[in-house]
Symmetry: C2
Subunit: 427 residues, 2 copies
């Protein structure tokens, strides 16, 4: 089929009629599918159920060093959990704090603390006229919600195939002291599945921020979430790169087992320089006596080490891969060459990113919904929910089955075609 833009008006009108009929047929099927959120599917959660047997009433509840996990204490995590989460991030255990069940809470906490207490002695942000964050787009809606919630001005930074546009990042960070942070998902980014190139990571590590309290918010959410055994992205380890560059304190790294063990009951961690951790612990010691060490112990005894986690993630990949491939197969077959959309082919993570023709995303999402397929709201991948081009759509293949994903994507491409034709006819 030829590109839509090269079609005559008559061809488009005739195509539109055809697509409308197909859409009515599709609506009649009564689909009810949700590809809106990056939720693990029950089969993935089932794989981790042996974790529930690790501790029972006969278990020794002490850490290797003899600390009773049932009682108060060890505010910043049990040593073996620091070790495990450190291995996951590729950093020493000494640079790790282990928290409760959600890395999102740690990120919120990091921003909230900066608002009220500054960063390692800097002026609390709530005392400043203006605080800004850089937001690589498309990106993760929940990151943007945190900064929006605290009234932080967000600046869009376009993503490229190697990571955020680093010329722009350098310009903002190095020239504007109001820029205090940047949200990054450096590996298998949300939603594009892009992994930052070595050059990108090194340019991050070598930033010379105008603000002493600028930090890179490095959300390594998909650090071991590969789809393939033989094709895997790896990125440079940011803490050591920052240290090499003479910027040891410039990064906060976050990760969790939410998409390894249980999305509702995993463990989460943060990594940073010791100077950062010392400052953070001044608040932490006021905030809690300890996080749930029993769940930390459960995870450590189950996974043992990074190899244990990687072996587990291979099982996840076997579930996720067919779903991604089902989506890509339909997109490739139905949309290649039409010039009405582009999409990513991630090797890991939880999402496929789709860019429709400008001004079409909202209409496509609405059309899909009309026929029973729920997508992430158009615009959600941008700060303030506003995609300036109304183009980006995030596809989350994890929850439905491969068959459901194929059916949902069939409908999706139909909606893309129909909305694109309407757009071209209206132009």
């Amino acid at each position: 089929m030829k590109p839509y833009k090269e079609m005559s008006k008559e061809e488009l009108v005739s195509l539109k009629a055809e697509l409308e009929k197909a859409f009515e047929d599709a609506k009649g099927k009564g689909l009810k599918l949700d590809m809106s959120r990056g939720k693990p599917t029950p089969a993935q959660l089932d794989m981790a159920m042996d974790i529930m047997d690790v501790l029972n009433s006969d278990s020794d509840m002490k850490t290797e060093a003899g600390i009773d996990c049932r009682n108060y204490g060890l505010m910043d995590g049990i040593p073996e959990a620091k070790q495990l989460m450190g291995e996951m991030m590729g950093v020493p255990a000494d640079n790790v704090l282990v928290y409760g069940n959600a890395s999102l809470s740690i990120m919120y906490d990091a921003v909230s603390r900066s608002m009220t207490h500054g960063v390692m002695g800097s002026t609390p942000w709530c005392k400043l006229d203006k605080v800004k964050f850089l937001c690589p787009v498309p990106g993760y809606d929940r990151h943007f919600k945190i900064t929006e919630h605290f009234g932080i001005e967000m600046i869009n930074i376009p993503m490229t195939p190697t990571g955020p546009d680093m010329d722009l990042v350098e310009k903002y960070v190095q020239e504007d002291a109001a820029v205090k942070g940047i949200w990054c998902v450096p590996k298998y980014s949300n939603p594009q599945g892009i992994s930052y190139s070595d050059e990108t990571v090194r340019r991050f590590a070598n930033l010379k921020p105008a603000a002493e309290d600028f930090r890179i918010y490095w959300d390594n959410a998909y650090v071991i979430h590969h789809l393939y055994d033989d094709k895997q992205d790896e990125i440079l380890e940011i803490l050591s790169e920052c240290e090499k560059a003479g910027n040891p304190d410039m990064v906060f790294e976050f990760c969790s087992t939410s998409k390894v063990s249980f999305a509702g009951g995993g463990i989460a961690a943060m990594a940073a320089s010791k100077a950062n951790l010392e400052f953070i612990k001044q608040s932490m010691t006021v905030q809690t006596i300890s996080y749930d060490k029993i769940n930390q112990l459960r995870h450590v005894r189950y996974f043992k080490n990074l190899d244990g986690m990687l072996a587990h993630m291979k099982k996840h990949a076997a579930i996720m891969r067919p779903k991604f491939e089902a989506v890509l197969e339909v997109l490739d077959k139905e949309l290649t060459g039409l010039g009405i959309g582009e999409w990513t082919r991630p090797l890991g993570g939880y999402f496929i990113s789709f860019d429709a023709m400008e001004g079409c995303a909202k209409a496509i999402v609405a059309k899909c919904k009309e026929a029973g397929v729920v997508l992430t709201g158009a615009g959600a991948t941008f700060p303030y929910g506003k995609d300036p081009k109304d183009s980006n759509i995030r596809i989350a293949p994890s929850f439905p089955t491969p068959e459901e994903m194929a059916a949902a994507t069939d409908l999706f491409v139909l909606c893309v075609k129909l909305v694109s034709v309407e757009k071209l006819l209206a132009a």
Copy 2:
């Protein structure tokens, strides 16, 4: 023995020599005991070990309504956990949010959120020149640390046998719009074990605060932590009292199972009016996708309801009671009539409060430490760690055995006597 204050100088000098010898003997025993923190003892934790068997790899991980606790969602807690924690506090489940493992974190969060976002639409406290909290004294050091951490000015309110001095509370709350909160442990207070009288609770509920964003921070930490079956304090339920008084939004209540199941792995909750909860959820939805629902499910399936918790707490009482009685027996026997100290006789909670002669608390704690018994630092029960009279000492009997507690208290009374004699001689 006659009161020390009625002794002649000669009598005191001779007594001092005798006590010094006894102290040297005691030092020689090489005691090593800690009665500094309100930590459950391993025997209490052992009693809850069956909780570890409640969920295993064969378990149905869904709530009664069919929500999978292993996955994302139900940000504010599973319904049955709201029900359980609501029963514990005596409030409807609809007024409850269930969080992670620590009520202290919920309190920190409540103050932190007020700093950055105000309370139900009020000006964020970080934008105000001055924010003040009332602090009934002696009180809980970790409460005071939270307000100190946020630069909130703390005002001491003396405790009476029926609760805080309500004349003073009313005066401050009703006249000063900078007063935004008061820290309360209304039942078996920390450290005195005092329970607020009905009149006190009603006067709280009927406050007419100058500040619209004034809240009572009602830390019901020891709500079911009785020592006796036949002698128990009960207090009025504050949410309904506030509602009756036309102040439905004036209270935040906190509780947890830290001293019911596991101090390091329980569940914690907050109760408030629906208007408060709606406002809090605006932040919560940014802060997390959900807390650990698996641990919520574990607790609900184990305890089932309030009766299950109360039955469990009877077992705790059987362990705690002899420790409290061991302390009181020594205090009664050794110090009655000497006029050098007063102490409380709580019917529940985790502490006994001791008031030494003015200017003696620090010296007593130091003496005890010299001979191997660690007490909570003198002053800790007051804001900024400053006891104006240097008189109050918190005794935490929970962790050591009854025999150890008796030995520790023997040393304690010896130190009280010695320091008191020295004080009187120096006067």
